[in-house]
Amino acid sequence: MPESELPAGRVPAILRAARLGVVALAMTVPAIGTVLVAPVAAIAAEASTVSDRERARVVSIGTAVTEILYALDLQNRIIAVDTTSMHPPEALEQKPNVGYMRALSAEGVLALDPSMVLAEEGAGPPEVIGLLEAASVPFITVPSDPSPDGVADKIRMVARVMGREAAGDRLAAETATYFDELAAAREGLDDRLRVMFILSLQSGRVLASGAGTAAAGILALAGADNAVAGFEGYKPLSDEAILAAAPDVILVMNRGNHVLDADQVFGLPALSNTPAARTRALIRMDGAYLLGFGPRTPAAAVDLARALYPEHAWPETANGNRGNTD
């Protein structure tokens, strides 16, 4: 429209003032922020320097960390857990839930007045970790390696942080013994089965586990070969890749969003032509039990091994058969 139609009134002045206000606000406040951050910059959280006060109110993040804390009889120290802390069930039933381990909320966690956050590797996002540390809440990350040594290291580290070295060493040694017995039993296997772990089936797309995943780790422990070993992490597989992988057995989780049954799995064209489909070999196991890599992992591996090779002799584990394998 023509400029002349618009009277130059007071509004532009108001607008200018408003804009100035916003600019001024946005420009000054970062200064405050930088001043504040400087003195509290990143308190390095080392397991060796944890004090008793810091062990009093722990937020436990990750399946294995929560399981280990319960196994060490330290559940009273836990003030909250994350959504992956599914074992024991009372953890999520009795404690506040801070959400998914990779999408934590800084203020949500701070609101619980924690003295420490004990988290499995992969928790985050990094900004939230930074904010928690800035608020003097030590954020201790427990490395997670899906192997027998990884489990023992995890147990020892959690125990050391919590000041329970002796109990931790006992638990780690006990777990290591089970792993050794399992390894000895594995020696007697002649033919190793090719197993494909399917994380989810979304609109017919198979999300399978490659090398370096917890699924690959548990398959190795149970004496099976990972049918898809060409890549790292969890990736979608093409139909041809599924045929080429030629799995003898399909392994899925029986908990969570995608509870799969044999009809769904073997109804897929690509999977219907695999050796697994011919024998309808589908194993379903509790996800946290199967992939948690905590104190229950030897038992989970034995359960899986037994489901794969029923004729073979497998060792008994003290805390076995808690994960109701189908």
């Binding site: 023509p2 607008l15 946005a26 504040l36 203020e107 701070l110 900004e127 904010l131 608020a135």
Partner: protein, 364 residues
Amino acid sequence: MVNSRVATTPLRRRTAAPGDRQHLAQLSIIVLFCVCIGTAVFSLSVGPVAIDGFAVLRNWLGGEGLDAVSRDAIVLFEIRMPRILLGLLVGGALAASGAMLQGLFRNPLADPGLIGVSAGAALAAVTVIVLGDRYFPWLRETLSIFALPTAAIIGGLLTTWALYRIATRHGQTSTATMLLAGIAIAALAGALSGILVYVSTDQQLRDLTFWSLGSLGGATWQKLIAAVPFVLPVFVLFPLIGRGLNAMLLGDSPATHMGVDVQVLKRLTIVSVACAVGASVAVSGVIGFVGIVVPHLLRLIIGPDNRFLIPACILLGGALLLIADNFARTIVTPAELPIGIVTALIGAPFFLWLLLRQKGLIDV
């Protein structure tokens, strides 16, 4: 031919109520400014942690040191304040960009989220996250915290420009072509992101998930500082361009006759929208519906004059996003909802209501 043009022509409304709308618009902007400040102050005082914000502020201003209230101070100054300012910035940028695009395309359906501008910006940001360190490390070295916003802005720029070129023939922008091209571009960006997901590491995958959800959760002063230089100048520029967009509502050639350099105006609009949307996407991911709900709501109240509509959008967009974020961070405490879920929950039904209320407004 295109109903939408008639429905949003300012002259028609203006002759119906000369002057009234302007006064209403002026008043609305003052009211909205107060609403904005009020929402910001309110947001500062709510959250999972119960704190006496004013006590903290008093102690701090009185120089009594922050140690006594250290955790409260962190919550207030390091968590809530950057988050609130980022919310105001992003909400304002998205809402005003929506209004600008609607003016540029002379089409009420234009929204950075719907027509793929956000998707293009997100794709560029994803590219930097996944491939940046391997193939162009100099980008992060030279631009540091500004690398991501810069990439996202370039991505937004390319998509907006491509969209405009595809949808415009002989100065006429076709609604159907724009929407379909937008869908195609968003699909293409999604597919390319999918390829990147395939080559990404687990850590990068986590960063990527953030883009698809949209969140103010990771707000830090650093992110705010990275976005402010791109968004604030655009806030100043937008109302000035809006003046020209008013003329363009009548068509390109009438606008030219009124002395508006249409080509320069269009380029300015595309660049400034890309700046605002790209910087927003870079710091908060893709947040939908703000760009379409806010301008429409305001047009109902203060009319389509872009000189007032754009500043009002900046203010209301910021305030609404803050309110949505308050829900996101308090409703499932101590956990947090992605804000995209909240804006879609509020925005989608509102959008449907708009469609039902003004039947024939969007007649592709």
